[in-house]
């Protein structure tokens, strides 16, 4: 794997290799000494054009536990409209000897440009670009699902036949796009649920079902996992796009409230990429239940990112012991 730009680029075999490698990494994290020597002497740059402390810390922890040096490069306050030059920044990093670049950018396709424009030689890992992709988030979600829903299957397993429902602002969500691609590749059946205003034109061609009705979907699908996406209140107003009439109406129609929580199968996982709006898209009862994997997802994120960094930087030499 040269770069990780999109979950859509991953074959089933590659995706499972990452999940299996992440499982190995996770096992090492229960040891007293968590640090592995695998990437000693290599430098990973976290290039963040958009604030995301959670994702940056996760990548930083992953790199450090593999003994890599980490440089955090926050192009804070920059915006594409101000002409902050991605090219110039990339060439600076190249000159500084970056061995891998983890990039977060508000512009869809920025990681793709970084990887393919000849500005830089290092492998590029997409840590979220605009409304496009967030592949490591999808991988950590799949990792979490596999661990809970297929505990016996062990390495080599996909998510065949598992039913996953993703609810909310699909239109603006790189997490939803990445999950549809990856979960489909792994054999799961995905249903997106959202008001029509929050589904992109063209989503009908994606490898998933689409529904506007959450209650019917829960009843018909009996999902193994339900993932609630963050909904931004400012999208209600005309200036924000007028995507839905009010927080109350959204919550009534698409929130995971107590009644819907009860209607889910007993084993169904409650997932959320965070940060949550409790009381809007998810009730405290659901978020804090013992079926919620929301906190665990964060921990699994480190293992998955260790696997990705390992595979793009040292992956040709087999899995670490």
């Amino acid at each position: 794997m040269r770069h990780l730009l999109s979950a859509a680029d991953l074959s089933r075999e590659e995706a499972i290799t990452i999940l299996d490698t992440a499982a190995t990494m996770a096992a090492t994290q229960s040891r007293a000494i968590k640090k592995l020597p695998a990437l000693r002497g290599l430098t990973v740059v976290n290039l963040f054009f958009e604030d995301s402390t959670r994702t940056r810390i996760s990548f930083e922890a992953a790199a450090k536990r593999l003994s890599a040096d980490v440089i955090n490069f926050a192009a804070k306050g920059s915006s594409v409209s101000k002409g902050e030059s991605l090219k110039d920044t990339a060439q600076t990093l190249q000159a500084m000897g970056a061995d891998a670049v983890v990039i977060r950018h508000s512009a869809s396709g920025a990681p793709h440009r970084l990887a393919t424009s000849g500005w830089i030689d290092a492998p590029v890992v997409n840590a979220g670009d605009g409304m496009h992709q967030h592949p490591t988030q999808a991988l950590l979600d799949a990792f979490t699902m596999r661990r809970h829903l297929m505990p016996e299957a062990g390495t080599g397993a996909g998510l065949d036949g598992k039913r996953v429902v993703i609810v909310g602002d699909v239109l603006h969500s790189r997490v939803a796009r990445s999950n549809v691609d990856l979960l489909h590749t792994l054999g799961a059946e995905v249903t997106l649920v959202a008001p029509p205003t929050l589904l992109p034109i063209g989503a009908s061609t994606w490898p998933c079902r689409i529904s506007y009705d959450l209650d019917t979907t829960i009843a018909e699908q009996a999902p193994d996992a339900i993932m609630m996406l963050r909904v931004q209140r400012e999208r209600m107003s005309s200036a924000g796009g007028g995507f839905f009439p009010s927080a109350a109406e959204y919550s009534r129609r698409y929130g995971l409230d107590a009644a819907r929580f009860e209607a889910l199968p007993g084993h169904a996982l409650i997932m959320h990429p965070g940060p949550m709006n409790r009381g809007l898209e998810i009730s405290a009862r659901a978020a804090d239940s013992d079926r919620s994997t929301i906190v665990e997802q964060v921990g699994n994120g480190v293992a998955v990112r260790m696997a990705v960094l390992y595979l793009v930087l040292a992956g040709n030499e087999g899995t670490p012991s």
Partner: protein, 442 residues
């Protein structure tokens, strides 16, 4: 001044003839040409063997961005018209979105004068419809019309004249001097933040979409306004199947509407953006394969009147960046004839020949722009604006080899048919053997 005796050229309708260019005119055709060339005492005759070449009236572009004044790093009137000559053009309409905006008699006269001084092609400035392209107040349309630049085409191109009342007033006002409003049809609220065509590909790439309906809704409104006030309206760079349908309906109803399509909308689709390459970022955006078929059909059946380049040069730093940050636009003057040949003439299933190309790329754009002396048939007594094309040539587009000051072409490394071998403007060879004739040789 040199005379040119062009022998064995094929005219657009198919006949073979000789042409004598003298004193800025086509002095004679057919058997008379050689006779008269011999009889002109003292004249130096440059003979051009044009067997196998097609002679077209000099091409006329109704939609060119020359960037001067203000962005001379991207293009100047001189560099842009030189590129135009290489592309076979003898007249270009310079869009008004310069810095300062061409919204006064002073600026349009400046642009016109720069074109006259450069001498590569006639420059017809387009006047802004509203002051500063701000869409709030009509610019002094009459002053521009009666200036030395004799402006007849008015456009806020780059931006849509969105206010329906202001659009109505503009359409009414320009009737006083036989002007036309050329509308960049883009509903601004439906396209806020848009980066590419809204559809399957935009959904996958996570790029904000520019829906077809944002173009179609404005065109529908404007043809109805033109009907109501009895004025003529021109639709810039029409790009969707629905737009073709609306213009077809309006023409059937007798509304005075004309429309243009760009070469790139005849050839490329939104699939090209999958690699996030900003060279394919343009406004209106590249549409779907169905839209491309519809605009080709519309050009063939006359619903779309003309091909216009929307030549939009940008310096490399405005394109060598992430897609969202990149400028919109592509150069087009030097590739237009080849792209139209590929999309329309070379397609044997279509009824579109050199005559149609001459009509859509020369005669009709000149008529819409009310340009006298351009787009005329190649006949004795007409002004000597013409282009010799080798229809059998094939060439590979090398951005560095183009004459425009910028390199943003979507056709880089693509092989295209047909090559402009010579261009004559006012009887002077601006291009010979495919090379621009700089300085004293002209």
């Amino acid at each position: 001044m040199t005379d040119y005796l062009i022998t064995g050229a094929q005219l657009p309708e198919g006949s073979i003839t000789d042409l004598l260019l003298a004193d800025g005119r086509i002095a004679a055709t057919g058997a008379d040409a050689a006779d008269m060339a011999g009889a002109r005492a003292g004249a130096q005759v440059h003979r051009i063997d044009a067997h196998g070449l097609v002679a077209l009236p000099g091409l006329v572009d109704l939609h060119t961005h020359l960037r001067e004044p203000g962005r001379e790093d991207a293009e100047t009137v001189a560099s842009g018209t030189r590129a135009a000559a290489v592309g076979g053009y003898t007249c270009v309409h310079a869009m008004a979105n310069t810095t300062p905006v061409a919204d006064t008699a002073g600026v349009v006269e400046q642009v016109w004068r720069l074109g006259e001084d450069a001498g590569w092609a006639q420059v017809r400035p387009v006047g802004a419809v509203t002051v500063g392209l701000a869409g709030e107040q009509l610019a002094e349309l009459g002053a521009m019309a009666s200036s030395a630049a004799r402006v007849r085409v008015f456009s806020d191109d780059g931006l849509c004249v969105h206010d329906p009342v202001l659009m109505r007033r503009a359409l009414e006002y320009v009737k006083a001097f036989d002007g036309v409003v050329a509308q960049h049809a883009q509903e601004p609220r439906l396209t806020a933040g848009a980066l590419m065509h809204e559809g399957i590909v935009s959904a996958e790439l996570g790029l904000t979409g520019w829906p077809a309906v944002a173009e179609e809704a404005i065109i529908a409104r404007d043809v109805l306004l033109a009907e109501h006030v009895g004025s003529r309206v021109h639709i810039c760079h029409l790009s969707t199947a629905g737009s073709v349908d609306i213009v077809r309906w309006a023409k059937a109803r007798g509304i005075q509407v004309t429309a243009e399509v760009t070469p790139h909308h005849l050839m490329l689709t939104d699939e090209a953006i999958r690699g996030y390459d900003p060279q394919f970022k343009v406004n209106p955006p590249l549409r779907t394969a169905e839209d491309v078929q519809a605009v080709r059909d519309g050009l063939e059946d006359g619903t779309i009147d003309i091909v216009a380049t929307d030549h939009a040069p940008h310096p490399s730093e405005d394109k060598d960046c992430e897609f969202a940050a990149a400028a919109m636009g592509m150069t087009g003057l030097e590739t237009a004839l080849s792209v139209v040949t590929e999309a329309m003439v070379a397609d044997d299933s279509r009824d579109f020949g050199w005559q149609d190309l001459a009509r859509t790329m020369s005669a009709t754009p000149a008529r819409i722009g009310r340009v006298t002396g351009q787009g005329r048939p190649l006949a004795a007594g007409e002004p000597a604006h013409l282009t010799l094309v080798d229809p059998s040539a094939r060439w590979t587009v090398d951005p560095a080899g183009l004459r425009t000051a910028s390199e943003n072409t979507p056709f880089a490394a693509r092989e295209l048919p047909a090559r402009v071998m010579a261009t004559f403007y006012r009887g002077v060879a601006t291009v010979l053997d495919g090379q621009p004739q700089d300085g004293s040789t002209r």
